[in-house]
Structure formats: C-alpha cells, structure tokens
Symmetry: D2
Subunit: 267 residues, 4 copies
C-alpha cells in the first residue's frame, strides 16, 4: 500500500542565512517516490549535495525573511524485510569498508561508554539476537515522553533518564549496537501512525545476510524501539552517524520555526 506524505514547514530568518534542508524522501531502490521534490519559497540560491552514504540529498538554501517548504509525494516501499533476531553479525574483518565508520563514537552516541553495560546485560546474545534484545530492553524500560529532551540530549542522557522521543530511542539503540561491534546508523524518515504526527527517526543495523557470515555479505535493517513504525512502511529521508547528520534544518544563523505540519497516511 502506498504511503502518502504531506509536509509543510515555515521558518523566519532575521538575517540572510545559509541553511541545509533534508526533508525529501531519498531516491533509493527500496522506495519509489511519485511526486515532485520539495517546493521552496524564493531563495537566493539552491544547491543539492548528496547525503551520507549517497542516500538522499542535502539542499543548501540562503534566505532572509519568511521561508516555506512543501513536500508532497506518494511512496511505494519495496524493502527486503527479515526477522532480525535470526540473523548473525558479520565478524568485524568481514565488514564492508563503508560500514566501519558506523562502529565509531559520534556526537550523540558515545558507544564506547556502554561496553560494560552491553556485556553484562546482553551477555548471552550476539548478532541479530543481540539487536533484538537491545530493542526489547529499550522498548521495555523507556518512556516515550515529548518535552523531556532537546537537541543537545545524548544517548548517555537518555540512558540515565530512560525517556525521550524517537530521536533519543534511536540514539540509545545505535549506541548499544555499536558497543556490541555491530555497525549502526541513524535514519530520519516518514512513517504513518507516529503520534503526534511529525518527522520520525529510527536506528538501522548492519547484519549478515542468511549465510552471509560465510561469504561476508550483509544488509542494513531498520529497528524502531518506539514501536510506532513498521519497517515495511518507513520512507527514509537520510542516514547518518546520529541526529547531527540528518536534521531537517541545519541553520548557520538564527532560525525561528513558524510552522511544521506533517501528515503521513496509507492508501
């Protein structure tokens, strides 16, 4: 069933300001988008550069005064889905080069600090079963609580406070997976049933394909510890090491959010 996205944002910039916009669904094999790219109000210029791992575009804009962006597409998802808990991890030396960066610490996911915890809490699991255990632990121990975190909240903060929003749940899953030597990245996305309706964020982990731990092939798999989004219905916008890489707006100057309205529906 297609996923229909209708997104509208409005910002005000008091000064001429450069900013980066990442709110379009990514043009990648696993999802086909019907509709136009984002339609922006007048801007001094507009330049597209590829996002991390060549997934999605980042759009540079420059504007003073009011700025609006509208995005309307219908997406058809054709993503390979798997029972994560049955998959193995690739052994580190089998990991493709481009996944190695996703083992490292990042701004909001200081994974090294969680090694003693994952070793103790998830001692008897590995690979996909470890990821499933991490998912279940976060889902079972964290409270989804809008307003309790902000743009500076790290996975350590969330781990201590055991609450947050989708961004925070994803950061904790990413950090715990990396602490388990499993590459993990952060995915900004659209999905139906997100309450309240908004941009969404989930984790993505790299695991061996069935039989892949022999020949070193693997794939990325989506993990949403908030339980709100079904991997079969997620429209990816961008990926990155953590939220720092995929903000829908990164501004080099003061930006005032005037409006944000996201509707994602099926059918």
């Amino acid at each position: 069933m297609p996923i229909n996205i209708n997104a509208h944002i409005a910002f005000r910039f008091d000064q001429p300001t450069d900013f980066l916009l990442q709110m379009e669904g990514a043009v990648i094999p696993e999802q086909t988008l019907y509709g136009k790219g984002v339609i922006c109000s007048a801007s001094e210029h507009m330049a597209r550069v590829p996002g991390e791992d060549m997934i999605g575009d980042r759009i540079w804009l420059r504007c003073q005064g009011d700025f609006t962006a509208d995005y309307q597409v219908s997406a058809h998802i054709d993503r390979h889905l798997a029972d994560i808990s049955s998959l193995n991890a690739l052994r580190p030396h089998q990991l493709p080069g481009e996944t190695v960066s996703y083992l490292f610490d990042s701004r909001f996911c200081p994974a090294d600090r969680f090694q003693p915890f994952v070793e103790a809490e998830f001692a008897n699991t590995s690979g996909g079963a470890r990821v499933q255990a991490i998912h279940d632990w976060v889902a079972g121990n964290f409270t989804y609580a809008p307003g309790t975190s902000d743009a500076t909240t790290t996975a350590v903060d969330s781990f201590v406070e055991r609450r947050g929003v989708c961004r925070d749940f994803a950061h904790v899953v990413v950090a715990l997976a990396r602490a388990s030597a499993i590459p993990a990245r952060f995915v900004s996305c659209y999905a139906p049933d997100v309450e309240p309706q908004d941009f969404h964020a989930v984790a993505e982990v790299f695991l061996a394909d069935p039989g892949g731990d022999d020949d070193g092939t693997g794939s990325w798999h989506l993990v949403d510890a908030t339980g709100m989004a079904d991997p079969a219905e997620i429209v990816k916008i961008a990926v990155g090491r953590d939220a720092a890489d995929v903000s829908f707006l990164t501004s080099y100057g003061m930006a005032q959010l005037l409006e944000k309205s996201i509707t994602v529906s099926r059918g």
Copy 2:
C-alpha cells in the same frame, strides 16, 4: 627532504580479539611512500578497508597473545602549501558534498556549543583569516601538557582546561572552525620534531582556492596549533571527524599496550 618513519608497537590481547589498525602513511597524491606496508606478527586474518574519504587503509586483524606491528618508510611530501590567512571560505552552498559532513558535530568536537564564542572572539574575521585567528588563539592560550587529558577528553573539556596534547589542540581547532561554518577534519599523522616522539594529530580545514569563491573550488589545508609540525613535513595516516575515527588501534576487547616507539627524522 624525505621524512623517515620508523614505528614499532606491541600489544597483548588476553582473549581472541578483533581490532583495527591505522598506522600506515596514506597512499595519496600529496605524499609518496618508499618502503613496505606495516609488518604484523601472526594474525588469524588480515583485511584492508579504505579509511574515511578513501584516505589511507584501515586494517582488520584478530589475535590472541602478543602482537607486534612494525612500519618503516621514507616519505616524499609534495603538498600544495598556502598562506591560509589570505584565503577565503567557500560560501556554504558552494561546498562540495563530501565536505559537508565536516561541518557537523562529532563525538569530541561538539561545534554547535562554540558558536557564541567564535562570534564574539573572532568577530571581525572570516575564512582563512578566521582560521588563522583560531590557530593563534589556541597557540597563545593553551599549554601543551602530556598527562592532563585522556581518550575521553572532548574539545569542551580542553577549552575549559586550556591544556592537553596534540589530539586536544586539534579537536579545539576543528570545533572552532566548524562553529564558523568552515569544514574541518582531524588528521592523524607522522611528523618530525614532535616532542616527545609519538604519533601526531593536527586539524585540516577546507578553504576556497585563490579565486575559488567564484567558481566553487577549494582545498584542504593543515593547521597545527601546537606549532610542532610543519605542513610541508607532515605524513598523513588518516582523516576523520575527530580522534574517534583515526585511532591507531581500535580494539573490540581488552588490549594492553606493551610498547610504542616512533621515530620520525629528516634526510
């Protein structure tokens, strides 16, 4: 004049342990290496993957017991050098896509937190002059003090304590440059005159080529606020967002450093 590198490290692993080694000079146009790659003691396997930005190799190894790595090369540097303070910055929308990640916050360089400081302290500078001012400020206000920082020290910690080693000086320069909307990355390297002799680390910033702010071309330039290394004599090992990406050893299990001996000389 060639730069001669003689590096020897020894580790002990009590358990069979996967680890990543990054200690070879990178094979890139700006430096030519004469000699063999790193020679390691027996390992269960060895796999090379490219480093960040395809600069240098990361080597996966797996070993139990004692491990040694020896690296001996002579490097000829042919790097374009410039008077940084005379260069302009590219405007953000002109930045090549692969440099954009280097504007974002990373584990040890939470650049967003330094925006008010750079705006106040370096108000009347921009581009290369801003980078020069950052260099001079760090060089003038920080003390090189081995033993005062460790692998968890961030640019914020160093900024507050105004001291550290090469890693910390580089983190602060990187963070302040990014806070100025100038892409900045972290470079692990070899260089003569580093006291005490050891691996070295410097910052690298992306600035417009002369006239490049018209046609959008730019280049990376090395910046060493410790003052110990001359860009004309630096042998790059690897680049990354910060030290998390370019450790000479990243181990997935306990590793005990037994020996590290680095000699870098001219001639």
Copy 3:
C-alpha cells in the same frame, strides 16, 4: 532608601506533592524587613527549617491542585560595603571552618576544572583584586541572554557558551573564585533594576577584613557580574553552594508554573 518587594507565584500540582519554598527575604542583621512572611494558599502542612549557614528559612509545604504564594515586604539594607579590589584573601589555614565548604566543587560549579584557566588568565592578581578581575572578565565576555540556559546548565556550559542569565553569571564567578582558593557562595535575592523583573542571583566571596589577614578575620562580599544589582540594594533570600541549594521552589513531583510576578522598587 527602602526596597519594596512584591512577589506572587502560582503553581499547579496534579498529585499531592511535597515541595520546598525559599522566597522570603532572610532575617539577618544586614537587612531589616518590614512586613509579614509569605502568605500561602491552603497546604496540608507547613514546616520551617533554617537555610544553609542559618540564613533564611526553607518552608516545607504539601499541596494538590493550585497553590499561590504572596510576599510583600519593605526592606532596609544596612550592609557593610567595601572596595573589593583593595581587600586581601585570607590564607587558607586562616579561613573560618564554616567557609571551607565553599571552596569545594558543587553541582553547577566544578571549580577544580578551572584551575589552569584562572592561573593563566588572572596570573598577576590575588585576593580581592583577583575577584575584581574575575568580575570584569565575566562582565566583559559574557552576554546576558534569557532563554539560552536552563536548570541543568553548569558553570562549564556557561563558560563555553559565554552567555546565560543571572544564575549562570553567578555560577561562573563562584567557580572561578573557588578555583582561586577563595570561598564563594551563591546568593538568591531580590534587587531593583533587574531586567526583566524576576528573582535575582549573585555571587558572594569571603575576603579578609582590612588588616584581617593578620588576625584571620574576614567577611562575605556580594559580586554581581551582570551589573544589574547594587550590593547596597540587594535583599538576600538564601545562600548555598550553587543554585541547587536555593531554588525558590524545589518540588518532589511534577509542578506546573502558572504565574510568577516579581516587582522590586525603591522608596
């Protein structure tokens, strides 16, 4: 000239909640208060305990639903004022026992981290001249910016971001004074000319009385790096190691602020 205080606050508690109120001027020799104590709406009970250093009262209350507190007094200040920059510090072993706690690190003032900075930045000063230099440095380098900090912001955060409100300015002065081995405490207070009108906070340092470095006598002196309050017009509410000790409301459960109106005037 008397200082007239008119304070009104209203909170809502969804559950029966214990909370601590600290909003009355302290009854201490240096300030005489004309008027009643705080008048609260119905509470399950009310118990007074002395504040830190026996200065001011903390009032325990317990309430569900809406709660209001009104406080109206006229204060006459008779405080000994001094030119801080002319005073010496007491040598540590001369410090009265009750001031020693104010040398130690606290939640928001991790003074130990600032020792390298104070030694470098204020190298040629000591005692009151050091305090004056700290005051001038903060006043000259920090921006008073409501909305840029919150209840979790530490002196380290403020030092890095060089901005904040009265609470943050006071935390930085306290931390830098303690890093200089000068006892420093945090004072919540009322003062005219605070913009916008609100509770205020300043630092207080312990210095030798003139000639006191011979006989070991000293006194506390108010320091306001925001420049908004004159020590001759400050009405102290409470003192403590930092803001954690002197919040006007500390709640053991969710509290919703409905209203806060503070008017402080002369005459």
Copy 4:
C-alpha cells in the same frame, strides 16, 4: 572487637602549598578512639576546622618538599544498627533542617537526573525498603573494578558504565536515594576487609526511627553496596555531600603522592 588502624601517607610538594588533610577517625559518640591524632612531618602551620555536620576535623597544612602523615589508633564502635529495610522514610516536612541539604544535587551526585529511573525501577518500594532495593540493584549490577574511574567520575558516569570503586558505588547509592527524596550523604571511612586495603567510602541515609514517622525523629544509617564493609566495623572519618567534601587530601597546588599504606585489622 576493636578496629586497629595504621595509616601512612607521603606527598611531595614542589612549591609551598596549602592543603587540607582529612584522615583521622572522627570523634563522635558512636566510635571511641584510643590513640593520638595524626602525626605530620614539619609544616609551616597547622589549623583544625570542623568537618561537615561537625563530624571530624579538617586540618590545614602548608608545606614544601616531602610531607608525611602517620595515624595509628584503635577504635571501639558502639553504633546503633538497624534492619534498614524495615524502616520508613520521614515525610519531607518532618526532616530536620540539617538533613535537607542532603536532598540536593551535588558535584558527583546529580540526583535530579535519576528521578525517572528510580520511579520506574523501584516503583513499589519506599523508605528503607527503597534503600535496600537500591543497595541490591547496585550490588547486583555493578562490577568493582579499580582503575576504571578517577577523581572526576560522577554518579552518572558510573551508572552508565556500571563499574567503579567504593567511591563510585557510594555516589550511585547517594544519588538514587536523593532522587527518592531520602537524605543521603557520603562517608569516608576505615574498615577491615577492604580489598585492596585503602581508605574506604560508603553511603549514609536518613530514615525514620521505629515509630519516628509519627514524631519526626530519625537517624543516619550506613549503606555499603560494595559489600566489603560491615556497618558495625566502620570507623568514620568525615561526611559530606559527596567525595568533593571529604578527600583525604585537597591541595591548592600540585601534589605528588609518594606513598599510601593503610592497614585496618580487628582485635
């Protein structure tokens, strides 16, 4: 059975340095000390001030060059011991004024951050049963691991890393108790069976005496989540909000530890 303490420390100060020593058993009703006070090598001066809550002495000294302190006593403990899990908490408004500070956040125990965790993890407990549950949770989930923490490690760090030494175990217990609105302080002490032999640290919580929740009387009770020390055999040195208040040596200048030898035995 008496507890025999034999402590010897040696430091070197390159410059004339003021420092504070806290290594004597406290002279308080619950423990009687037979023997002399600490015997120090020559010092420019020596001044005693009372410790926090008037428990134990802090000794100011000033010295250049080598400094030694020797302390030898036999202690007889006569402490009221209770089954903590059977005690109630006092309701906040019943708490004696001098215990209220021990509800607040401190440098190493930012208790406010743990409120969501304690409410979730220990939901069905209160008072002494809550303290017992906290003790059991820390004892069951943390690893005693010398060398994994240092003087800057906070309860948040330890909570994330689930390991540390006595100092860290005590900080976590203190933070979780305060987050439960139970006053908690940090106690430096001597105790037999501490492995390796060293100064020790435990938590202390304030709970209602049996029947005390009617008349508002309560007492402090020792809690050692490391399991190494028996409250009946602990010789208290000092109490405070956390380790910042009770270091055995707080130095205003560089101090080099040359030797520390602690022997605590029964009989």
